[in-house]
């Protein structure tokens, strides 16, 4: 009787789980291996070269030494991050969730903000594959490639990192038509902490890719590489040798640089000059319509002849392309729920599911007639999408249009939902209680 009670006590106090941990980017490792296989058929060994467990462990250890763990973040010094991110904010965003009354004593705020609000979709590692991710359409962003879709920093045909103002705007508004909600109800200090943490995860993810690349080239070509990553051991900030520190800095600094422009405080949004007068007049809209169907802007080829997004149905975004190992456009057709029929199910189940990749899905061009604008509905947002493109997606930036032409297109796009064709006659909506009709 007593022993039974004791056993129950043991079960009830629970076996506590291990703390949350960053998962290594298996998907990228597999992508690198697959790509190498395809592009270098004359490898030295018969089989595809894979990273050993020891190498993966090394990569993880280096990352832990530089960036810490999900519970205890660190900020690597001497690489230009000091003006961009604040360790204090990272600590507030990181860690297990605390609740009202147990605020983080340093900042007076609760901690664990990322895991409370973001982690279950974006993942503890920022891999876009938290527990909820597989059920969402579109999938949450994987930060580790360092590419982001909606920002006002791009221009002149070049993609730049998002600025903190972009992140703020995104948290304020959410992304319309997706599962990314508006977080405006959170107090501003909490949003700032989360923004820092997201940038931190992105930089960490990019560094992880760099290290994996290095580890892979060492593994596949041992004769050539002077610094063998298996010798690099950066334990908790303690650098073993000067060469190793240089190696790490050499990888990390170019990653940080695009983030920390403007004296290291971060990227700056571009200036968009005021639209010309009459940019939204009927003539301008008509000009925009013509441009829509011409090759200069080439909108119709993806967005379709009727602008409902049916021009191309077998494209992928960058995050998916990487995992497929295919050339863009190889996979054809689209299956149920947008999953491409070109990807055999056994390939997905056999390979991608095991490494924690969500089921690949086509990216569909936007239906412009429903008035839903993911990146924002302000005219400047539409202008940005057209001229600056959407990084990571097949939507290109357009440098051939003049400013007036671009604004005409903006006017046309914004007018589309109000066209009669966009409002088909449907069955009358059941007017409930107290109808005003």
């Amino acid at each position: 009787m007593a022993s039974l009670l004791f056993a129950c006590m043991f079960v009830l106090t629970g076996c506590n789980s291990e703390p949350a941990s960053f998962q290594i980017n298996e998907a990228y490792i597999r992508a690198v291996e697959y790509k190498a296989d395809v592009t270098k058929p004359q490898l030295i060994s018969e089989q595809t070269v894979t990273l050993s467990e020891a190498q993966k462990k090394n990569v993880s250890e280096i990352l832990e030494g530089l960036f810490g763990t999900p519970d205890e973040p660190r900020l690597p010094g001497g690489v230009g991050l000091d003006n961009l991110l604040s360790l204090r904010k990272l600590r507030v965003a990181a860690g297990p969730v605390t609740y009202t009354g147990e605020e983080n004593s340093d900042s007076g705020l609760e901690s664990g903000l990322y895991r409370r609000h973001c982690g279950h979709c974006h993942g503890v590692s920022g891999d876009g594959h938290g527990p909820t991710a597989e059920f969402l359409n579109p999938y949450p962003r994987d930060y580790r490639m360092g590419q982001f879709k909606f920002k006002l920093t791009d221009g002149d045909g070049a993609y730049k990192k998002p600025s903190k103002a972009d992140f703020r705007h995104l948290l304020q508004e959410g992304i319309a038509g997706t599962a990314m909600p508006s977080f405006r109800v959170l107090p501003e200090p909490e949003r700032e902490a989360i923004i820092d943490y997201v940038i931190y995860l992105s930089i960490r993810g990019q560094m992880e890719r760099g290290l994996i690349d290095e580890a892979y080239s060492a593994a596949s070509d041992p004769n050539e590489l002077p610094d063998n990553p298996e010798k690099i051991l950066v334990r908790f900030g303690e650098v073993v040798a000067g060469d190793d520190l240089q190696f790490v800095k050499g990888l990390l600094t170019p990653i940080v640089l695009p983030w920390a422009t403007n004296d290291g405080t971060g990227t700056v949004q571009r200036t968009i000059e005021k639209a010309p007068e009459e940019w939204d007049s009927d003539e301008s809209v008509e000009l925009g319509r013509k441009l829509f169907y011409q090759s200069k802007a080439n909108c119709y080829s993806c967005h379709g002849r009727t602008a409902i997004g049916d021009g191309q149905t077998n494209l992928f975004d960058n995050w998916t392309l990487e995992h497929l190992g295919n050339e863009p456009g190889d996979a054809s057709g689209s299956g149920e729920d947008g999953v491409s029929a070109g990807i055999p199910d056994y390939f997905y189940r056999g390979h991608l599911a095991q490494i924690g990749v969500v089921k690949p899905r086509n990216i569909k061009p936007r239906n412009l007639r429903i008035g839903n604008y993911r990146g924002g509905r302000r005219p400047i947002d539409i202008y940005q999408r057209i001229t600056g493109g959407i990084e990571g997606s097949p939507m290109p930036s357009n440098t051939k249009l003049t400013k007036a032409e671009a604004w005409s297109l903006v006017a046309y796009v914004l007018s589309l939902p109000y066209e009669p064709a966009s409002r088909p006659k449907t069955a009358p909506v059941f007017q409930g209680v107290g109808s005003s009709k």
Binding site: T132, A176, V185, R377, P379, Y418, G434, S435, S436
Partner: protein, 266 residues
Amino acid sequence: MGRFWSLLFLLVPVLGVAVFVFAVVPGGVFDNHWLPEDISQHGKVIDDLFMFILYLTGVIFIVTGALMFWFCWKYDAEKNPEPVKFTHGSHTLEIVWSILPAAILLFIAIFQMDAWAENKMVYPIKDGKKKPPLALVTGRQFEWRIQYAGPDETIGTEDDLHVVNDLHVPVNDEVVLRVQSQDVLHSFFLPNVRIKHDLVPGMQQHVWFQTKKTGLYDIVCAELCGWGHYKMRGRLIVESEEDFEAWYANAVQEQTRTSHNVESDN
């Protein structure tokens, strides 16, 4: 042991009433653990009805609890030497305690029909016709998409203002909202205004209320809509007419922005 158990049953009405007393009376350990602040015109009827039923049921609770305690105490076999009162019941009592509760229940039912009608059936009239809605509130997984009708008072035209999660309304004005859902069932719950109405896909419905105090209040989704049901927090911002107009003008300006200047924006 019978005495002990009787006292245990006595604890039920005693502690039961005590908990409610502590909750209703401000201050103490249950401070702010009662009906949230009511900033609406019609909410008082609901709160008063709640309290009336509370007192009525409280009386019944105390009486039945006390009787149960008393019977357990007095008729404990170990302590009660008298023979059992052998009876199969009492016609009179059955009639009394059938008619009396029936009358009370019917009274409550009929008494509150007005309040219900006012909340759900009597659409506000302004200047002899139905008041047009201020905004269309669309619930979707997992946010509130609000579309203000704008100066033309028609929802769905180009002058509409689109906002997410923040519902601004002017104080002291009867506000009518058209509500709908884009995907699954949601429920538009304003705790401080005593409004709750399910948003049913395929149906457009209306809710109406009038507030009497400015401030920031919660909008809660009150019908399970998926994993993010808890995330659907909106804000009801009740402000003066001037503040509302100022905010509105600002928001429209932001929505129609055709230039972006870094120095002034960052």
